[in-house]
């Protein structure tokens, strides 16, 4: 079965079961996947982020239990993605008791293999995040695209199951986005929009939706942005692009670490495809993401998990005000802890908002019956919530979300309405 791939001595020993049954199973799966994607060998990774801890049904739990029962333990530092429970605020989740029990069992199985109970989809906000050029194996589409694009770390798009196989063995197939060639841009996206849009968070969401549709699985370099594309904005762009397409890496000329210029991101070769994106494409994308004109029923922000900067911005915007509708702020327990210390968390609660940690409002029933649509600043939430939860969505910036919550109707403060 290893005809196509060159395995080193340790890999072969693992495959022969010398490192235990769990690592043998993991190595078998890694080799099978490595061969399908044409990897010549495996390479060492320095960290892993596990998406597979989120309960989607018995298959995920059965797999985790099988590995844990076979004595599985991770061989690199490994963080855990969101689950479907909020362990810090358990009363928030209106889950079916049997599903909740299975979710907890799945979380425990991963913890028992030595993974850190971080429960966040934004592991890049934790201390000790990966550096430029570091080889890692991360799951969770928004974390993958952020690690590759913004940090310049190197990971393929690891799915549930494969992520823990990499963590158990400390190895990953040496292909795709782990390699220089796989990281070279082949698509050039030339953005021309009114200059002031570059200060608007929703512009980055709309551009992300367009990027996903253009790029699919290809690597693109975007020209026409500048330093105003900060980490939180690039995160919004990437999270949306990884929802509307299978984007694992994008470059922004003059902004992201592997793209001092578009030419360097393209590796000195002409692009295979050039796409011009203007105001019309961005506006159309935003309209497609949030099309509801119903009355406002609730607000949900922080998908992916809000950064400390976002919680602090929110605290400033909502100072001395009150929300009229349920207002949910998704974040990690780590960021919430820091926001408690800085005082921002208290101000957000004073506004009437509810923090959700360890999970997210679009994967688990937290938002109950709402009398209208749900406003969000997240392209990813807008993309998935209608299918997952049946909500009508309206897109707004963080400022729009606060204004709308205070007035109880959707209002728009920026250029996108």
């Amino acid at each position: 079965m290893t005809a196509g791939m060159r395995l080193d001595e340790a890999d072969r020993a693992t495959l022969a079961g010398e490192a235990g049954d769990a690592r043998r199973i993991a190595m078998e799966l890694l080799v099978a996947v490595g061969e399908t994607i044409g990897a010549p060998s495996l390479l060492d990774i320095s960290s892993a982020h596990i998406d597979g801890c989120l309960y989607h049904g018995l298959a995920g739990l059965d797999f985790a239990r099988k590995l844990a029962a076979a004595g599985g333990s991770v061989s690199v530092p490994t963080t855990l993605n969101v689950s479907s429970l909020d362990l810090l605020h358990p009363d928030l989740v209106r889950a079916d008791p049997e599903d909740a029990e299975r979710s907890r069992a799945q979380m425990q199985a991963y913890e028992s293999m030595g993974c850190r109970p971080t429960w966040t989809c934004a592991p890049y906000q934790l201390p000790d995040r990966p550096r430029l050029g570091e080889q890692i194996a991360w799951g969770e589409s928004n974390a993958i695209v952020f690690a590759n694009s913004v940090l310049g770390a190197r990971t393929n798009r690891y799915g549930d199951f494969l992520d823990i196989c990499c963590a158990l063995t400390g190895r990953a197939p040496a292909a795709g986005l782990h390699t220089d060639e796989g990281r070279r841009a082949t698509v050039l996206v030339d953005v021309t929009v009114p200059d002031a849009w570059r200060d608007e968070e929703l512009f980055y969401v709309g551009l992300g939706y367009v990027l996903g549709a253009i790029a699919g699985t290809a690597v693109a370099v975007i020209v026409g942005l500048d330093q105003r594309a900060d980490e939180d904005r690039l995160r919004a762009l990437g999270a949306t692009a990884a929802s509307s397409g299978a984007v694992g890496l994008f470059h922004v000329a003059g902004v992201t670490p592997e793209a001092p210029t578009a030419e360097q991101a393209l590796g000195g070769e002409p692009p295979e495809k050039v796409v011009r994106v203007g105001a019309h494409e961005v506006e159309t994308a935003l309209a497609r993401l949030g099309s509801s004109s119903e009355s406002l029923g609730a607000v949900s922000v922080g998908t992916p998990h809000a950064s400390l900067g976002e919680v602090e911005s929110l605290a400033e915007m909502c100072a001395g005000r009150k929300t009229r509708v349920p207002f949910f702020v998704n974040t990690s327990r780590d960021v919430l802890d820091r926001a408690e210390t800085s005082g921002a968390a208290g101000k957000v609660r004073g506004f009437g908002a509810t923090f959700v940690t360890d999970t997210c409002t679009y994967i688990t029933p937290i938002i109950g019956e709402v009398g209208g649509s749900v406003m969000t600043n997240s392209g990813k939430w807008a993309y998935y919530a209608p299918g997952n939860l049946g909500f009508e969505v309206v897109m707004g910036s963080l400022a729009d979300c606060v204004e709308s919550a205070v007035r109880g109707v959707a209002v728009f403060t920026g250029p996108f309405a």
Binding site: H56, G57, G159
Partner: protein, 122 residues
């Protein structure tokens, strides 16, 4: 066609006009496409040979594919334009845990929409 996950399957071909993210886009309990933005929203993939350009979106698609295969609502087989490791691992884990084989091939069968075909070597 190149086998990513070898095996044999027979079923009616459904050609997806756009890629589908199984996570958030497919309900493994009912076996229907639930992505409201997908042109084939509401169609079932259960027991069919699903032809699609490539996987899309969330990396949880592997779990949802494995769960659909466990419940019998998964595709009989997949034909992709390019290799997709997220779908491959979902199929391999379903085979490991439940013995369900969902072969995955890379190739072109677009002209066969609606016909029943046999995937894999005899």
């Amino acid at each position: 066609m190149r086998a990513l996950v070898p095996g044999r399957a027979t079923g009616e071909v459904i050609v997806l006009e756009e890629s589908l993210s199984f996570w958030g886009g497919y309900d493994p309990v009912s076996g229907f496409i639930i992505d409201g933005a997908h042109p084939q929203h509401g169609e079932s993939l259960a027991g069919k040979i699903v032809v699609m350009p490539h996987g899309r979106g969330s990396s949880s698609a592997s779990s949802v594919l494995a769960e659909a295969l466990r419940l019998g609502t998964g595709p009989a087989g997949l034909v992709l334009d390019e290799p997709d490791q997220i779908l491959v691992i979902g199929s391999l884990v379903a085979r490991l845990l439940y013995g369900v084989v969902c072969p995955i091939y890379v190739g072109q069968v677009k002209e066969m929409s609606g016909e029943t075909i046999e995937l894999g070597e005899k």
